[in-house]
Symmetry: C2
Subunit: 363 residues, 2 copies
């Protein structure tokens, strides 16, 4: 894997991440394909809207169908019919957020499946084995996602665990699979800094910020984003995990982050909330009943080229599958297009203008 | 609208129905797009699998969003982004099968919406107005679908109502919209015969058999199919409404029917039951867990070309939208391909062989 920063505009970066399965232009948005499909989308549609990489969730795939099954079916790419790059998370965050019961120990985490209540264990070794079986292009280290709020002492112990696990994961890195480290440290700048120093000592192909957007006030999150990004190695990709509100993305790109993932555009789409160049709209609103116009007159996606708001409202109210499809196409196209335009603004040294323009709409 | 029987093989017919929006090769299968979308499919996908016409339900579209809304959005074709032919039923059958409460009177039917309990009335005039607003290529007369079982007397009175309504519908036929009559008469051959004579006297662009597959024994249904088809005018398309089990279709084509619609392939797909050249399979079966093969080795559809049974099982169990999409693509492709091959067998005077071969699998 090769990464180059093509252009900087203040701290914002336009980069190029090259993998064996294709290039990723950064800042990049990664649609989330939790169990091996980006909900409501086909791989062809993802390509058509310009997705260059998707994220899959190790926790989900480990529980069902099981990583050995995915491996026996030819690996995650063949399994889901997606030949472009795939990033897998380590499962740490989902254990933290989804499992009914979890017990963190020094060597890993015991947890109860949210599907059937069965007990499982994932440590650094298991996290690396699972991701190796899946065969993703970019793997993530197993981290202990520190909850909010946490005392300094708790956060520090949690961080040391993350660091130790990161070392163990690094030792097990599979040939041909990139591995990213994950910065923790809760809201404590000293711990975040310490975290980065330790991870850089170990040495990773990229660095991610975790443990944010876990319930802390937005101002705190923004403070940590601006604090963290500049401390990360400038020659490696910087990934802000799980954060995708556009107002936050603009700040994070300004701070120097390169990669993002978020379920929001796809989840909102299924709930009928759609992103447009004039702000969010709810398609179920009465006013759209006989509206012949497209969702967003400035949008060139398949949905906007072919369907009226009136029709989209009708199939949403009728709970039709096509509604979720067309809405998801639109929202993901909107996001990917937003990222493409953001990158262009960096290349043309007008990111600040871009940010101001969009923050007026998505603050 | 122009119809030609290209070739007869005993009573089985290969025909060509030409409309302003394109040709329909018969025997033809019409996927059902109840509320203005064939569930889980996009219009592009329908074209890719070779659908030449779809059926929409007047009852549903009348209740939601309302035919005036569809008209104000440019008519049903523009509304749903489908530029090929559309047939609309008259709403009669859905009033019969879906509405919570209905009262049939001489001038039409009062019924309660299954959506919100509101009361409505549809008579011949309303049925024609609604279908005219929708702008379908083929409209159906309003019929009184005689329930099973019915006494001879009840069936006769019901039939006379259907005939009277058919006359009234015919008088209101819109320029450029074809209109099909509907044969009723329950299981009574004398009434079916009478029904056909009266309808032919009025004169329609095509003739449909209704009131079958409403609970009667299969043998009775088959008896009526073989009785009815040869009595219908040979120079007009013959449509057997709502019947789509392949074993029944083979008999109906043998009898001389040309057009079919059925929700079964698409509904089964969403439930994980898939048609293959070796019979139906349930994709959720444990045995498919790590099966790398396609659903049907003899199938050339998008799903079979790109996905393993193991993956299809996984996304079905995970209740993913893509599961319903890929399963529906496969089942509708299977059906349309079955019809294409059936037509070919008629053209090549080997329908009987085709029927024997497939009845061994789908009796």
């Amino acid at each position: 894997m090769k990464f180059d920063v093509i252009k900087k505009d203040s701290n914002a970066r336009a980069g190029l991440l090259e993998t064996n399965r294709g290039a990723i232009h950064t800042p990049a948005f990664m649609p989330v394909g939790t169990v091996g499909t980006v909900k409501a989308m086909s791989p062809d549609e993802l390509k058509e809207i310009g997705a260059e990489i998707v994220l899959c969730n190790t926790y989900h795939l480990y529980l069902r169908p099981g990583h050995e099954i995915v491996e026996s079916l030819g690996g995650i790419h063949k399994f889901m019919n997606w030949d472009r790059p795939i990033l897998t998370d380590s499962g740490g965050f989902q254990v933290f957020s989804l499992s009914a019961l979890r017990k963190i120990e020094e060597d890993g985490v015991h947890f109860k499946s949210h599907l059937d209540g069965s007990m499982h264990f994932i440590g650094p070794k298991e996290a690396m084995e699972i991701q190796s079986s899946l065969g993703s292009d970019i793997a993530m280290v197993l981290d202990d996602c520190t909850p909010y709020p946490s005392s300094y002492e708790y956060a520090m112990n949690s961080l040391f665990r993350t660091i130790k696990w990161a070392e163990q994961c690094k030792a097990l890195q599979r040939e041909g699979q990139a591995l990213f480290g994950i910065v923790q440290g809760s809201l404590y700048e000293a711990l975040r800094k310490k975290s980065i120093e330790e991870l850089v000592d170990i040495g990773f192909d990229g660095y991610a910020a975790g443990g944010l957007s876990v319930g802390e006030p937005k101002e705190e999150m923004h403070r940590l984003i601006y604090f963290t990004a500049p401390l990360l190695p400038s020659e490696k990709p910087r990934y802000l995990m799980g954060i995708g509100e556009l107002g936050d993305v603009l700040k994070a790109v300004e701070a120097g982050f390169d990669m993002f993932d978020c379920v929001m555009p796809s989840r909102n789409a299924r709930n009928g909330t759609l992103f447009t160049s004039r702000g969010k709209i709810s398609i179920k609103r009465e006013e759209f009943k006989s509206d012949r116009g497209p969702l967003d007159p400035d949008c060139d996606c398949y949905t906007c080229r072919n369907y009226s708001r009136g029709y989209l409202r009708h199939i949403f109210l009728s709970k039709e599958i096509l509604s979720m499809r067309l809405n998801t196409i639109h929202n993901l196209f909107f996001y990917l297009n937003f990222f493409r335009n953001m990158r262009k603004s960096i290349l043309e040294s007008r990111f600040s203008e871009f940010k101001t323009q969009w923050q007026a709409i998505y603050s």
